[in-house]
Symmetry: C2
Subunit: 346 residues, 2 copies
């Protein structure tokens, strides 16, 4: 089938591509002095501290183009970086994007990718101010660096938790991981039998995997509730791993109660269908991009009953280590088994 | 032969690797509030504007590990980004590094890469404050983002050139390109005959290719000479391409005199040995990382005779276009034929 809408990358060249991308970008941040089009972008910090974080997504490691639409991939590439900025209690303002892409992709594929990235930028009020686009011998690689801003005194680090602080998580857990399981299963079925994927009834967990959101709303909510977390991290590698990060950085211990873990019914049911333990999925699944934070017990009344926030444990002394309490009250060592980019594939 | 110094990446895991890297980093910038070890690094802008730039190096496109030592590669990956910061007349302060690397590389290879990166950071007084390291299905990909700072009024853009301004370039041109030609030739000979590379007498151009430097010294010099460029860019894609960038961004024309092009004797001789025109190599070679800038004619006396700076032409009105004047006085259209990442390979 001839594809009349296909433009070869070589026809456009690097400068043509940059101009094509730049023409679609609208800058909205007052702090953006200069966007794409010079040796570097220029930012006015407006008296605020700047935070900077970078994440790379690699084809075949972090995503599979056989079920990940390019537009979703672009959206996700931006969101996973913004999530890190929010986890500092800062506000993302700018991103720069470096892209290595095979010549086999038509220009329209790059358009789709940028469409997703710019959609995320628009949704979170962030400017795409620079980048680098080059060819790749094999797979697609997307590297995004996000810049955010906050008053120095508002910044929240991983290491600020204190003993007896409550451990709180936003949203629910394990959904992105179960979404990935469904996609992998349907891909395997398709490869074996040619049967079309059956994704009915899995909307929520598929969206958690394919189009995650960063919890800007939770940062807004905490400000509104006048709750200042003592420590915070975003959940990209799984709850267990991130809880241990907070405890270790704070030189303390942590205890999580299995029965408190927030798990969506569709995540729970799908885990059961896969003969997986829903709690294990919640603890080690990864890619949920929820916020995990600690608050003083004195702030408990401010968050009590809020549907977006769940108290799942508390901070203990260092000697108590990292513990998981099961539904029968038995205590186990909490271990980070999740999502290690080197253990996944390849 | 058993390699006893080889540590498998899988043994270390992502967090082990991050700790290994972090343990070697010493922060030196007063503006670095928080380096590696949280969701994001934190920077105190100290009242200055921030510039941000990103560059990606892809194996098989930008470098060939058969002749590029990993330590040099790490050094170069940092330098090419710092060059962009200097080209804004700003000072680099922080870098973040995202790395996709095959599991086939031992941990010692990553050590070498970081050794080179940290060497460059030390040489230029820059802190490595964050990053992301993940596995890659095939080649090595390095994405560096550099942050710099400058007072708003010190920033120099591409678009500030004025008619009659002098066009000035630092150092000499074409060396990095000729270094690459020598390396490619010796690789081809080795692949055909197994003969060891003969690199004798090519030290200068090989260093230009394998271990380029960013022209911090030129920025220092201009400050000392009290010369404020009206426009500036660094030469990564070749002089012709960058001169056109300045002219186009400034909505003006540019005229370059062939006889003025600064070419090192070893570059010149090697070009002749390869039956290449030295001027063409200087105009389109790429990767020289020299600075190209425009100054007011009133500043000419300040730079006159300086061995680091050469006046190679001037800015004309827009209608005069982009011109190259040959040694006989003939005028030709200046064209950007250099270094297009999409045209090189793959």
């Amino acid at each position: 089938m001839a594809d009349t809408s296909r433009t070869e990358l070589n026809h456009l060249g690097e400068f043509g591509l940059i101009e094509r991308i730049a023409s679609r970008i609208q800058l909205g941040q007052a702090s953006t002095v200069k966007g794409i089009g010079d040796d570097a972008a220029v930012i006015d910090p407006e008296g605020l501290h700047q935070v900077i974080t970078t994440d790379m997504l690699v084809q075949g490691v972090h995503f599979d183009l056989s079920y990940m639409p390019l537009k979703h991939l672009g959206y996700k590439a931006i969101v996973v970086n913004l999530s890190d900025v929010y986890a500092m209690n800062a506000r993302p303002r700018q991103v720069v994007v470096a892209l290595a892409i095979s010549n086999r992709f038509p220009v329209e594929a790059i358009d789709e990718l940028y469409e997703g990235m710019l959609l995320a930028c628009g949704a979170y009020g962030v400017d795409l101010v620079g980048g680098d686009t080059c060819s790749s011998i094999s797979g697609l690689v997307i590297s995004v660096t996000a810049i955010g801003a906050a008053p120095r005194e508002a910044l929240v680090y991983r290491g600020g938790a204190r003993e007896h602080d409550l451990l709180v998580v936003s949203g629910d857990l394990g959904g992105a991981y179960m979404g990935l399981q469904v996609l992998e299963r349907e891909k395997a079925v398709f490869n074996e039998t040619g049967a079309q994927p059956d994704l009915v009834g899995h909307d929520y967990i598929l969206e958690r995997q394919l189009k995650p959101e960063a919890r800007k709303d939770v940062i807004d909510l905490l400000k509104k509730l006048d709750v200042m977390p003592t420590a915070m991290i975003d959940i990209s590698d799984g709850l267990a791993s991130e809880a241990i990060h907070i405890a270790r950085s704070s030189a303390l211990g942590v205890r999580i109660h299995d029965e408190k873990l927030p798990i969506d019914p569709s995540t729970f049911q799908t885990a059961r269908d896969f003969n997986l333990d829903p709690s294990t999925c919640a603890l080690n699944g990864g890619e949920d991009y929820e916020l995990l934070f600690t608050i003083s017990q004195a702030d408990y009344d401010k968050i009590k009953g809020n549907p977006s926030l769940t108290v799942i444990g508390h901070i203990t002394d260092k000697a108590s280590g990292y513990a998981l309490v099961d539904r029968q009250g038995g205590q186990h060592e909490l271990r980070a088994q999740g999502w290690d980019a080197f253990l996944r594939k390849g």
